[in-house]
Symmetry: C2
DNA sequence: GATAAAGGTTCTAGCTACTGGAAGGTCAAG
DNA sequence: CTTGACCTTCCAGTAGCTAGAACCTTTATC
């Protein structure tokens, strides 16, 4: 299987597949006589696993850990679950951060008339003097 | 005012302040005879504005636009508001994305026993064969 | 056989927003 | 005169790719 077929079957670009290999996430495939990478089914499965893990927020390093656990017959599901719980906590804090931004920004936009006048509560809130300086 | 004082007053690191200048966000300060940057109050205000805009999610490029609007007496508040509304939409879509991850990940963790057994629904969902392969 | 298109390979560089470090000049105190 | 803190510059690295250059291989067509 050449790289473009793997790409089509996984929806991951050839560049990206090579990148994953170079990053050490993917076990390097055998090479054909012409130097082309010769992939097998296992590679497709690994790439799909990376893709799904990425979709739910895991970093490449974390994907690497997950793949290692996946390959290890002596793993415990507790290890995997811990990774997932850690990630869940990260996602929650990221959501909280974005919600805070949203709240602030939403309040500001509602105060802004959005007309032709230069007077703008958004800029004022960001630190601009409301109209004139007192210094 | 030397860079470290500006840093203390804004809570932005000297490295970061130089970086903002190099990126073109900050108007370059005059230089003292020894080559040191000599900041004035305006710079502190600009840096604080960048800091607050960054906190509510604006990118550096967007901060640059906001600063430009802030300096322009002929601006309209509508322009500023549009920037804010765009950013709000971006934040909303990012939150939605994270919520989707959260939902999936949360469901998976709840299915995982988290014990010593290697059998793990999380890995299964990520693409691993449930127990054995059919190939 | 010539040639062109469509694959493959490697390498380098760019993106965001910084941070850290090296190598060196300057300033204030002892 | 030395020490330490400050300042300067530039280079490199972080995450996760993507784009491009420069080159080789395969396949099809003329």
């Amino acid at each position: 299987m050449n790289i473009s077929e793997v790409s089509q079957r996984t929806g991951v670009s050839p560049k990206n597949i090579r990148f994953y290999e170079q990053r050490g996430l993917l076990t390097p495939p055998e090479r054909a006589d012409n130097g082309y990478r010769a992939y097998v089914e296992t590679h497709v499965a690994e790439i799909l696993m990376i893709k799904r893990a990425r979709l739910i927020g895991f970093s490449l390093d974390e994907c690497q850990s997950l793949l290692a656990l996946s390959r290890d017959p002596h793993r415990s599901s507790a290890d995997v679950k811990q990774h997932a719980l850690d990630k869940l906590a990260q996602i929650d804090s990221k959501i909280a951060e974005l919600e805070a931004m949203r709240t602030t920004l939403s309040a500001l936009t509602q105060q802004c008339p959005g007309d032709a006048s230069p007077q703008c509560p958004i800029l004022t809130a960001l630190g601009e003097s409301p109209c004139n300086k007192h210094g």
